[in-house]
Symmetry: D3
């Protein structure tokens, strides 16, 4: 057994059968950051009030991105998402923004991919809106912070 | 002038008017990596031949992801993409995979967002297929490596 | 308490958590009309038999539109729709068409948005098919007529 | 000749052939309003600053809605949109919000449907976010205000 | 040279670069049929007038399907379709329906895939609407009948 | 009673009400084949190892196609798919490929349309990738092989 559940015994990709898994409450949180120049950081954080709400647009894009996960990720099951929140916090030490996305469902598979897709979509949306002034921004730290509710138990990133 | 072109004078988000920009050949390349445990790395790199082609599925997901960019990123213009390639290379020093996505168009705006979306979708697809054995994988280094063809000239990441 | 449940305590938009709401049968009906010139009205109502089934195409567009609701409306939950009907009736007194869309689900949130989206998509489709002869058509009366099945009880428009 | 260009000589629906139409700059503006109770109006207009930016979310939904037009409206051609703006203005006399969406393209068909879809999506998004406090909101006045750039010349609503 | 242009020298799938291909008028026609029991055939052909327009719904589904081609077929380029028609004709000798879909574009790649997708979507939609009375229907003859306008010249099926 | 459940008493298309149907485990398998020239067949079957994995790409496209069924087929209910597999087997006697798609759900309606859409999408993807060397390929035998789990009982194609 290789442990790669998305492939069958012959090595062919398939969408894993979850028919017999119980319907349970599931939650996942994913994180990411986007690092930028100091001047860009100042523009965004001031801009929230005066020049355009970069963070508000990115947050909304992240929420909508979560709903597109099964369309983007080939072997991902479609899921009835019951909650999405995306928190975006300025972090002067990067400088840049910290992103945290939480998704819940009541279903037969976990929502890590939805949380990761929400976080990456929010980060990409920040890039899009600010790229005219800073092409060198970098996105990193995209990973699962917390997952709970399925057979495999609770996972928390160290 | 704030430089945040995605917002108008009042600070309201809008899709920038590109009607008067010339139709030119444009190209962009974006990079990303996904870092994993050594055992996971071995599974994927051996798996290409025997247990399931993680890299092949992720490459295809990246290509298809590029086509969904204007659907994911709120203020992104829809573009007639003319080429997408996604290169995924094992990097034993991470250990993990290096991803590089290149997108071309003949149009009125650049394709950085398409290249970034292709790279991040490929990386997320790797996570999805391997998460059963390694939840702690991390995606980073998501950034524009090259952009050329528009008014703002050639950009290459240092 | 502001009552605006789509925003959290800080005023940030989120997709409301419905995880703990019971799964119940829910129904909603929305209405709309499209008003046109008398000659246009005659063309459509005669046309049903002879020159092209404007009403049939619009009805189908409305049904398909209901399925796209969570893709269109940012904070809307995806829902397993169990029924959609769209009734389109000529109304000589407008002159124009009366549209009524009914959607059912068995789920954790209501289907008002699905019914409204079905009705507006049907109305917009009429506009599209007839705009070559009548640009001044106007759509109005788009509202919820009936909602039932959730915690907030039955609502009927006066 | 019936004038219903979306149907052929037999009365069958088709997507009109625009292959031989010239590629020209085109623009369209559509309007709509959403009427609500006075208390709801106060909540939204105050809320912009303090409790949640209903107008900002609706504006973004309208912009994204314009990009989905050819997916929603069955016989609509896909178009490379080059600009979308959505203006939402409080109107105390309704009381409610006035919505105005403008779309531009350089293409072979007009963008009235894109402007109408943007305006209606923005209006529906307002309904969604505020429906918990006011179910009786009504959307109306959805119509083309301006269209220019094609063979049929300039159209302005009276 | 293998001739499989959708794979690079290493055998990796990619979206072929069409940046340097000229923008020309292109057309393609695809055919398909769906065979059914005599009683089903009678139901559909009578039904057009009295009990429900199976053919009208399937025709519209085919037209809309053409617009989803680049979303369905992984390595297909997105294209600005300029015309779609779907003809569905009862064929008593099958018994069943003959489907013919024609798509045009002004672009850099052909529209065979769009025509094939339109034809297959129309056929599948017939199956969906009639499956309650005839599960054994079969779809066949799905192929390109005509292609013209690109570098590779005119192709007509024998 | 006409038996055409997708139309109401007036003959108008609607999405059938499944609200009162029990939630049960459902499965469906659909088949299809694509016939090609001998040289094309050799290219694909050798190519799996050396020149590009046509079958792997087509299999993945089929799986993703299943998830788009309710978007493609107008009156199809959206369903939470719990499993998709697509088997593609070279058949030297055609010569060509045999495709078999199996879909499972736990829901209120069957998954025949999902299985048929998976099979046809896989077949169309083969056509797309190989069309540069063989335009005359033909897709046929697209039909339901097995269906089980709903009120109407088990169906197996003869």
């Amino acid at each position: 057994m290789s442990g790669l559940t998305h492939f069958d015994a012959k090595g062919d990709a398939h969408m894993v059968d979850v028919s017999d898994k119980p319907v349970t409450s599931r939650i996942a949180t994913a994180g990411a950051w986007i690092r930028m120049e100091q001047a860009t950081f100042d523009l965004i954080t001031e801009g929230k009030a005066k020049k355009g709400d970069v963070i508000g647009v990115a947050r909304l894009a992240g929420i909508m991105g979560a709903k597109k996960t099964s369309d983007l990720i080939p072997l991902c099951h479609p899921l009835p998402i019951t909650k999405v929140t995306v928190e975006i916090t300025p972090d002067a030490s990067l400088p840049g923004l910290q992103i945290e996305a939480t998704v819940k469902t009541t279903g037969q598979t976990g929502v890590e991919m939805e949380a990761l897709t929400a976080a990456s979509t929010a980060a990409l949306t920040v890039y899009d809106m600010v790229k005219a002034v800073d092409r060198a921004m970098e996105i990193g730290g995209l990973r699962v912070l917390l997952k709970d509710g399925g057979k495999s138990g609770r996972y928390e990133a160290r």
